[in-house]
Amino acid sequence: MPEEKLPEAHDASQGHEVAPHSDPFADPGLPAHEPRRTDIDERAAKRAERQVSLMFVVSMLATIGFIASYVIFPIDKIVFIFPIGHVSALNFALGLTLGVALFCIGAGAVHWARTLMSDHELPAERHPIEADDEVRNDVIEQFKTGAAESGFGRRKMIRNTLIGSMALVPLSGVVLLRDLGPLPEKKLDHTGWQKATPANPIPLINMNTNEPMKAEDIVIGSLTFAKPEGLEESDEDFQQNIAKDALMLVRIAPEDIKDKNSAELGFGGILAYSKICTHVGCPISLYEQQTHHALCPCHQSTFDLADGARVIFGPAGHPLPQLKITIDEKGFLVATGDFDEPVGPSFWERS
């Protein structure tokens, strides 16, 4: 900085020197104001002005670049950019240009404030929050006058009915909560398997092949997913229905099945469990074929499929419901009834 441009002495109105050491607790006040280079050197100020404008111009160019790259790059163009690898040209260009545009506005504004805007320290004294006595007395006086004039304390009937009406108004809000309904009624109690009866069973359809399965198709240690016959992916309500109907079929060596009731519901060691976790309804099929544990990926509820899908770990409250299966006269696996309890998470009306 050129020496001749430095101020001769500090401006007394912009602060004062540090207090003498004799009184260490005295208010030190503000440090002396030091001018910035741009305050005293007009060339530096001009340069800073150009720098700020340059950043704003870069921002403008980047915005134009953003619009241009939106138009130029096809959505599926992939380019190699070191060191990121293969990325979408469109994503990269949009992110880069928008990032530059926003950054340059911010950087320009900060540079402007730091170099050119007023730099003078302005202390703001703290004041007590409460109003002064005169205002407070006036307000209290007005309140008393109002209360006396309304006769609120004298006319008890008006007072009591007012309190009653005020107390009842929030009830409308409670009633509005009814709009969150309707209650699920019996919709969650039954699944797509409910139409199955021993006389009219529903075949189990393999979700990979879309074909019915024979018992010998399911080998020990395998995992197969099934849906009820008649439920097609083209159906409008397929997603709603498969969320209740989905089955996982496992075959466990009959001597390894610990729960007798579970073994009877299955057929020759083939067990058909609901795929829906009883905690919050995630699809659960992380089946370990050696331990027969099924793990839910959401909250780590673990079910022992060899022991009636008992919960052995985690937050689930119920075992997985099991579907009663058997084979029809042609040897295909069929279900003869619905799950004996609702599938999926607990709900208030769960019977």
Binding site: S88, F92, E121, N208, V219, I284, Y287, E288, Q300
Partner: protein
């Protein structure tokens, strides 16, 4: 003759003599060896089984029993088939280093010929899934990738993650990442259900569908570009959120500190 004797002190003369002697011995053996003995080993297959049995006795029998019948330390190998051997030994999982929740993939210590011999021996113990041929797991139809994607999401994604990155199971077990796994080994794993993975036999998942799944996994791991740049492990919101909080917010905080450190009371620029 003179030419030969002139070079008899050449440095390579000894080598030439040695080669001639070896060729002569081999030729004589081929001519005079008893014919019956050569016929005793009827086929390449039985030779492989024989060799495999020897390798098995050295490398596998301490856990799986001298005849592959299994012991307290290892399961029976009767009926697991050659595909299981090709997978387990071919990915280095077997021989296992130590007992534990999971036998990890590691350096392969047998060469492919030895693995084939072991597989031939184990296959001879009982019928089981056969090592697939290249045509079985190599897809040529471009539609297979999208069909395989659907099948992958139905059957595999719950454990191996939607991008095949793998994931945790119970008590220290895990589903390994499918990146850089051989197409053949993916196919064999579906056939045989190694360790805690359930199997997907041809009866419930036909060969064609296995081929489609392999096509999808190879595409996802090898060819599919990542439109946004960093994959962050393809683990979903966990890593992405962490990255956003640490690096995104961290950068903003750093800038804020830098701006504040250069104003009013701080030393002027």
């Amino acid at each position: 003759m003179k030419k030969l004797s002139a070079r008899r002190r050449h440095p390579l003369a000894a080598l030439v003599v040695l080669l001639l002697a070896l060729a002569a011995t081999g030729g004589l053996y081929a001519a005079f060896a008893p014919a019956e003995k050569a016929q005793a080993d009827t086929s390449a297959q039985s030779l492989a089984i024989d060799e495999g049995k020897k390798l098995f006795a050295v490398g596998c029998s301490s856990c799986h029993g001298l005849n592959g019948q299994g012991s307290t330390d290892g399961p029976s190998l009767v009926g697991v088939g050659s595909a299981a051997v090709d997978f387990q030994v071919g990915t280095g999982r077997m021989p296992a280093q130590q007992p534990g929740a999971q036998v990890p993939r590691k350096k392969v210590i047998y060469n492919q010929a030895e693995i084939d011999q072991l597989a031939a021996y184990v296959a001879s113990l009982g019928p089981g899934p056969v090592t697939p041929t290249k045509e079985q797991y190599t897809s040529t139809n471009p539609d297979d990738v999208s069909k395989g994607g659907e099948l992958f999401r139905t059957n595999c994604a719950q454990c191996h993650n939607f991008a095949g990155q793998g994931g945790a199971l119970t008590k220290g077990k895990y589903a390994p990442s499918l990146e850089s796994v051989d197409a053949k080994h993916i196919y064999e794993a579906m056939q045989t259900g190694p360790q805690n993975m359930p199997s997907f036999p041809d009866t419930t998942m036909p060969e064609e569908q296995k081929k489609q799944i392999v096509a999808f996994v190879r595409h996802t791991a090898n060819d599919e570009p990542n439109p946004g740049g960093l994959t962050l492990g393809s683990l979903g919101p966990v890593t992405e959120g962490l990255f956003g909080w640490i690096f995104g917010l961290g950068a903003l905080i750093a800038v804020a500190i830098w701006v504040a450190a250069h104003t009013t009371k701080a030393k002027k620029s």
